[in-house]
Point group: C2
Chain length 322, copies 2
């Protein structure tokens, strides 16, 4: 088992990143607040650094300036020679790689954990995005958060590259030794809702508390957990020119995580006609009608729901601990 | 009584404008659809022209490129000499003034009516924005729409310039002889919701039906109607540097049109402290937490609720009619 995903030593440096997408305001304003007053991030056994990931996009209240920062953390881009024509986000990705990484595997300099804060316009509630069930630490953290907020439906999304098992993660948290994404919705781009803001703030506090418990030598037993795993995505109906020809069906809108059966209407064309789901099996849609995904040709993600068994997270031994 | 606001002749040319703000997608996609297939806009007695008001902003899925188009229809801007440095929206406002106006008062060339389609991120439901209760035709149209959609709360907002009674309207519909704005929410910027899309489509159809009835010689009796009239606006709490220091209070969020009493919490500071409403009288907030108004320093509009008596809209006489 990879030592990063089952840490053998206390986590010493944690980063909380917001504004990776500049119009997802919960993280932007939490980080701006913590940069002024970081007191609520402090825990005895480790340091927490708030980072405004994409300051230019946040200043413009846009997702990005030139390209999506959260797809720019590939080794190829990070290691290529800088040029004056590089997109802003590629330059910024290299800066963040210097600050929080470097991504080059096995680096001891990298931060131990990055918690990256996002919002979605979809009716996703609280969603914790983990890069695979092998990430034992993040799975235990997710389980802890679910238990801490029993009043929330808090879902875990295993996001694994679809092309091949070896395919590289290109998201911000991939520059550190380990990480997780917190995705809260629904919230319009460019809007701060108090309910979503408070929920994100409480989740971050609880994630830091979990890290403190682990660092102090707490063992966490094995458990089983329901998770959603990505299978692919579905595009909107389009005209021959590639323009939208329809819209998410009212029967599907806001029904993230609910089972979608073959034959169910998923789109309504502007001409009035329904488009039905043509898959062969039940899937669980997520990110339904997320504003930022129109340009990525994603009307929703298809996921499967499964129960995974997560092994225990062993306590650090005194010599490993504080 | 001004003949435009109580028409003495049939309306012959109506425009339906969408995408005045390029990320308010219901109007953008309705107009794009109608430009391909205008059949549902046709009525026997008049022509209806769909217009994509801000094509560059719609292509970029942004509210505007350089400045807010819906504040650019002032006589000063429309009549000033064009220069290569003009903001895109000022140039576009002059084009729309040529197409739908000109605004110069008393022009016979101008369109008879412009229906301008908007969305808001606020929980505004269906809101019809009329430029004053003296606009008898628009008041009757609003009343007709309320009666046609009894299942909707459909509110009428009298938007009158606050500075002085003579202050000029600078919105798109001001270039035509008469007009009205349809404002539907909540819908995130950059998102098309099927429920909002269908509602807007049905409202436009019903507005055209009303115009047809009027042109055909129908008289509409006097009535009384509840309306909201603007009193001013409230900004977010801010730091000394002008940054946001807080957020719309969870007790106020989504409560558009509900009475707000003095002393009620309206903002929650990031530090945790509540900010209470310090006015001396009950007001009715609107556009609470609209994304586009952060930069305008508007957290919500304050309005008063009143009942207005609207005189009859007399039937056209046969010589005036068809």
């Amino acid at each position: 088992m990879c030592s990063v995903l089952v840490p053998r030593a206390p986590l010493r440096r944690v980063a909380v990143t917001g504004g990776t997408h500049g119009n997802e305001l919960s993280g932007v304003y939490l980080v701006r607040h913590w940069l002024q007053d970081p007191s609520e991030l402090q825990r005895p056994s480790f340091s927490t650094t708030p980072v405004l990931a994409n300051p230019a996009a946040a200043a413009a209240c846009r997702r990005y300036v030139d390209c999506d920062l959260n797809r720019a953390f590939t080794r190829t881009l990070l290691l290529s020679r800088a040029t004056p024509d590089d997109p802003y986000e590629v330059t910024r990705a290299r800066e963040l790689d210097q600050l929080l990484g470097p991504k080059a595997s096995g680096s001891d300099q990298a931060f131990d954990f990055v918690l990256d804060l996002h919002n979605t316009t979809a009716n996703m509630g609280t969603c914790l995005i983990v890069n695979g069930s092998h990430n034992i630490f993040a799975m235990h953290l997710s389980h802890h958060l679910k238990l801490q907020f029993p009043e929330l439906p808090c879902r875990v999304f295993l996001h694994q590259p679809l092309q091949s098992a070896a395919s590289e993660s290109n998201s911000l948290d991939s520059v550190a030794k380990n990480g997780m994404t917190v995705e809260l919705g629904p919230q319009p781009q460019g809007v701060l809702r108090a309910d979503v803001f408070s929920r994100m703030r409480a989740l971050v506090a609880s994630a830091l508390d979990f890290t403190e418990l682990f660092n102090q030598g707490t063992a966490f037993p094995a458990f089983e957990m329901e998770v959603y795993r990505n299978l692919g995505s579905e595009d909107f109906p389009r005209t021959e020119d590639g323009d939208l020809a329809g819209i998410v069906h009212p029967q599907l809108q806001d029904r993230d995580y609910e089972p979608l059966q073959p034959g169910t209407p998923i789109f309504q064309k502007f001409s009035g006609e329904d488009v039905r789901y043509e898959g062969h099996a039940t899937v669980y849609p997520m990110f339904i009608n997320e504003a930022a995904y129109y340009e990525k040709h994603i009307a929703f993600l298809r996921t499967e729901k499964l129960v995974v068994s997560v092994p225990p997270l062993p306590a650090l031994t005194p010599t490993q601990g504080l």
